[in-house]
């Protein structure tokens, strides 16, 4: 399951194209002039240290938030200019796996997977049943169809959410931190499923994560976010050989470097001695 094999011809069509993207929250800039592309049929990994805006980038791609400047195009449509019906039509071509699964807690596993089908199509119950069981079988949870979400482990919930994400046969599948909090077995299952589903269904996958080793197994291409931009991109092997300090720090997991270990703070000694700015009063005993 190598991630950096040859590039077939069908993998040249751009599915997501982001150019000159700027975005901020509460006066704090997250992206400034970010460019990004994802090609059809590929697994594209978006990596980066915590707080660099990986999940925010997914929210921009899916039209949950609008950029301050720049263009976000998905399937050739500029996402932030779409009205709700067009945006919903676009989202029907996507599937998304949330970090926590986001299963509907009042519905069984079967009904969770059936939910988008019931909402968008009128299928006979027998056909719907076959469709849902097929998708649950693909993630190995056909036997858990009648369980409730509260009865599932974290890994099982993630797999049910994956079955729900693919039940409408999307062209683009987006994974937000799919490996967080999983045991090695569950993680291996999810890693295998992401690549197998991508290849078997001929879809395009975007995986946001900071698990370098897992992404190296499945990604055709990886992008590293830092300082509001994509600072490096290429195959996982190319990123490992990068001479950029920020890339080397991230890929080798060093605690200090261009990405500082310490959050910006006043001088340590001054703060301990209670001199200077207002933050130094934190923890002061009442007078």
């Amino acid at each position: 399951m190598g991630g950096n094999g040859g590039t077939p011809k069908r993998m040249t069509e751009t599915i997501i194209k982001i150019s000159g993207l700027s975005y901020g929250v509460g006066g704090r800039g997250i992206f400034s002039g970010l460019d990004f592309e994802a090609l059809r049929g590929q697994v594209t990994a978006i990596m980066g240290p915590s707080g660099t805006g990986k999940t925010t980038l997914l929210r921009l791609i899916t039209g949950q938030v609008s950029p301050a400047a720049g263009r976000v195009e998905v399937f050739g449509q500029q996402v932030d200019t779409l009205e709700k019906p067009e945006l919903y039509a676009l989202r029907r071509r996507m599937g998304m796996l949330f970090q926590n699964g986001a299963l509907l807690t009042d519905l069984s596993v079967f009904e969770n997977v059936a939910f988008p089908v019931r909402a968008h199509a009128r299928l006979p119950e027998s056909v719907l049943r076959q469709l849902v069981l097929t998708k649950l079988h693909a993630v190995g949870l056909r036997g858990a169809a009648e369980l409730m979400p509260a009865e599932l482990s974290g890994g099982m919930a993630r797999r049910v959410a994956l079955a729900r994400a693919i039940v409408m046969d999307p062209e683009l599948l987006i994974y937000d931190e799919p490996f967080v909090g999983l045991d090695p077995i569950s993680m291996g299952v999810i890693v295998r499923l992401i690549r197998e589903l991508n290849d078997a269904l001929g879809i395009t996958s975007i995986v946001v994560s900071h698990d370098v080793d897992e992404l190296a197994q499945i990604a055709h291409r990886s992008c590293l976010l830092s300082g509001g931009k994509v600072v490096a991109q290429g195959s996982p092997a190319e990123l490992r050989e990068s001479r950029l300090e920020v890339v080397r720090q991230f890929m080798s997991g060093e605690s200090d470097g261009p990405v500082a270990f310490h959050y910006p703070a006043p001088d340590y000694f001054d703060q301990l001695m209670d001199r200077g700015g207002s933050s130094s009063s934190a923890g002061r005993a009442p007078r």
Partner: protein, 248 residues
């Protein structure tokens, strides 16, 4: 402060319009609506019935004490019926509804927001307003008048229990004077109030849940706001509606 309040009222009004647009499609899935009527109504029955009984009993005691000073204790049935139908029934039920069903609605929808369930629906191109909020809103609006009716019946039973069984008011006078004095307009006033309170309390509950910050603190604050705003709004609406009915 005033600008902020006006902005908030405007936001709720826009939310109401968006919600009403989705109520039609939501009614095409009656099972979901019936389930929500059960959640908001049937699950509030015990607290409504107990409260109705005690309110009716207090009304019987206080009414008897007041009326016997004028030698008019036979009018206890009328006093209890009018008090319950026009005021106590709708108001007390709405206050209890805000505390029981309203908070449940707010916290449920708020937690769905906090756990990304609503976002997941939006990502599946499914409008949460139609599939989550509208059935709960309709459920609350339908349940309220039914709960008020049950509260009134139990309340009258409580008043009769104290007035007739305990204090010795003549049962014939109790029921016949009630039948003669209570008019259809009095019943209608109670029904209009209960529908208005149902709309207001359900709207506040689902709006606060839908717009709650997706954190534990945010959901807690939204739940508190539901009780406070619903209670104040119920009493304000009660005054306006009473004035409107008396001024006709």
């Amino acid at each position: 402060m005033i600008a902020e309040t006006l902005q908030r009222i405007g936001t709720v009004a826009v939310f109401l319009v968006r919600l009403l647009v989705q109520c039609g499609p939501a009614l095409r899935k009656p099972r979901a609506v019936v389930h929500q009527i059960y959640n908001a109504g049937a699950r509030s029955l015990i607290i409504i019935m107990l409260s109705g009984l005690f309110v009716g009993m207090v009304l019987g005691l206080q009414g008897f004490d007041l009326l016997q000073r004028f030698g008019s204790e036979d009018a206890l049935g009328v006093a209890a019926a009018l008090g319950l139908l026009k005021e106590l029934g709708p108001v007390v039920t709405a206050l209890l509804f805000a505390g029981r069903a309203g908070t449940a609605l707010t916290s449920e929808i708020g937690l769905m927001r906090a756990t990304d369930q609503l976002t997941a629906m939006e990502m599946m191109a499914v409008d949460p307003l139609r599939h989550v909020v509208a059935p709960r809103f309709i459920g609350g609006v339908v349940a309220m008048p039914l709960l008020v009716a049950i509260f009134n019946v139990i309340g009258l039973f409580g008043a009769q229990l104290i007035g007739v069984q305990l204090m010795g008011v003549d049962p014939g006078a109790f029921w016949s004077q009630m039948q003669a004095a209570v008019e259809l307009d009095d019943v209608n006033e109670g029904i209009v109030k209960s529908v208005c309170f149902g709309l207001a309390c359900s709207l506040i509950a689902v709006h606060e849940g839908y717009t709650a910050k997706p954190t534990a603190e945010g959901v807690g604050l939204a739940t508190t706001r539901t009780v406070v705003i619903s209670s104040v709004l119920t009493l304000l609406l009660d005054y306006i509606l009473t004035a409107a009915f008396l001024g006709r």
